[in-house]
Symmetry: C2
């Protein structure tokens, strides 16, 4: 993303909150989803951080990144257990009380009362209806417990299916930028070192785009190769850069093909 | 990880460098590997960041995190193309020249000369043998191009297979802490909200451990449930916490079982 694009598009930071991602127990799947969706909305993700369930770390990180980026999306830490502290940390970061949200509270109370047998709307579950003062609910189709937005911080679940439902509910409220589009040209049997100089010229010719080069590896007899990606908000420039990248590959003796290489078998 | 453990164990930060991860094109696989391996070495990962191929961002982030953590592991951006700028950014961060590394240079020159037909050790490929002054090579079995360490920063490839080979070569050089061990107890059909209060007591009883709760979801007729994880460097405490977590599940009417729940079908 060039400075020019940063200036014209809103930006995003993703905060993945959870010991389980930092310990290697859990493979994060939320960054890739949010990055793709936000790119398509013209709100490119400029940074992501994975931080533990530690209050001072969450509070200071939120305050740092909400000042730097147009939007901050957090995932994780909004369930009912003792290690779910994201919501109260967001309240601390904004310096507002953490208190029952009347709408969420009523909804959860009614939900547990309606279960057969009735569930207990206990202190743990009440935490899921307790939010920073001023929070705007993010409803979702997957669970009764909502996420919320406060200022430019959007607090989403960690479970991918629930996070995605929350994001779909939130997305229409976000002011969009110019969508980030990309084109990929790849060629089997070409090495990065053969084309690097010519590819750098393509980057110089298209300063408004990100030109990326990604080698891929395949077990013989299939050969690995290189995937070249042009990305940016200027769709016409992306198309022209893709043509230039195809010429780079052809000049190195490769057979340029559009689209991603076949997935690793 | 408690403050006590942080004090006794070295700490790690993982920096994932690459536009392709922030755009959603690529699913990062390196954090999970490094987190698991480093945890087993007693060097728990305390934070991870995903940042773009932007010089000022890489330089400032490296300088920030190398002051905070015992070790920093970077992945990505050490290939031959114009967007591979990690190595020169590390030199800038340390304020040292970025210059040919005699051993790496000789090895790459010989490698390309030995190919049939001989490869061109061109300017792009020479970049892979150019390093911050004082860099210590990290050899690997997967490629001829090495990673390197400088100070407490370890610069690894982005391609998972190559990164892993570099890490295996590097690991014996790292001073180990007490290994982080964990135990998981899970139960189908138990909801977090039923056990949150009792689980918080387990956390209070084992302040030296991280006690985590992770709901899981399964399509009917299989029921979802909750996985409870105790983690820390005190293996005896982990075992006792696992027993306490099993009692929490049994008291809620569940059938506690050791180990992770079956993977989602």
């Amino acid at each position: 993303m060039t400075a020019e694009e940063q200036a014209e598009n809103p930006t995003a930071c993703v905060l993945i909150i959870g010991n389980e991602v930092l310990s290697g127990r859990t493979q994060d799947q939320n960054l890739r989803f949010l990055a793709s969706e936000l790119g398509a909305l013209g709100i490119p993700v400029r940074e992501a951080r994975v931080i533990p369930d530690v209050e001072e770390m969450i509070v200071s990180t939120i305050n740092e990144v909400r000042a730097k980026y147009t939007h901050v999306f957090t995932t994780g830490g909004i369930g009912p257990t003792h290690d779910d502290i994201t919501s109260e940390c967001v309240a601390k970061a904004f310096g507002v009380p953490w208190e029952p949200h009347p709408v969420a509270w009523k909804r959860l109370a009614e939900y547990y009362a309606s279960q057969n047998p009735p569930g207990d709307f206990n202190a743990a579950r009440q935490r899921m209806a307790t939010m920073p003062r001023g929070a705007v609910l993010i409803e979702n189709e997957a669970t009764i417990a909502p996420g919320f937005s406060i200022g430019n911080v959007h607090v989403l679940a960690g479970v991918p299916r629930i996070m995605q439902a929350m994001f779909r509910a939130l997305a229409p409220r976000l002011a969009r930028g110019r969508p980030v589009v990309s084109a990929t040209v790849h060629a089997d049997g070409i090495f990065e070192g053969q084309i690097a100089a010519a590819l750098a010229e393509v980057q110089r010719d298209f300063p408004m785009l990100e030109i990326g080069s990604y080698p891929y590896f395949r077990p013989p007899p299939v050969r690995g190769g290189v995937a070249l990606v042009a990305k940016g908000t200027d769709a016409d420039a992306v198309a022209r850069a893709a043509e230039a990248m195809a010429r780079v590959i052809a000049a190195a003796g490769g057979e340029p093909r559009e689209g991603e290489p076949a997935p690793e078998p």
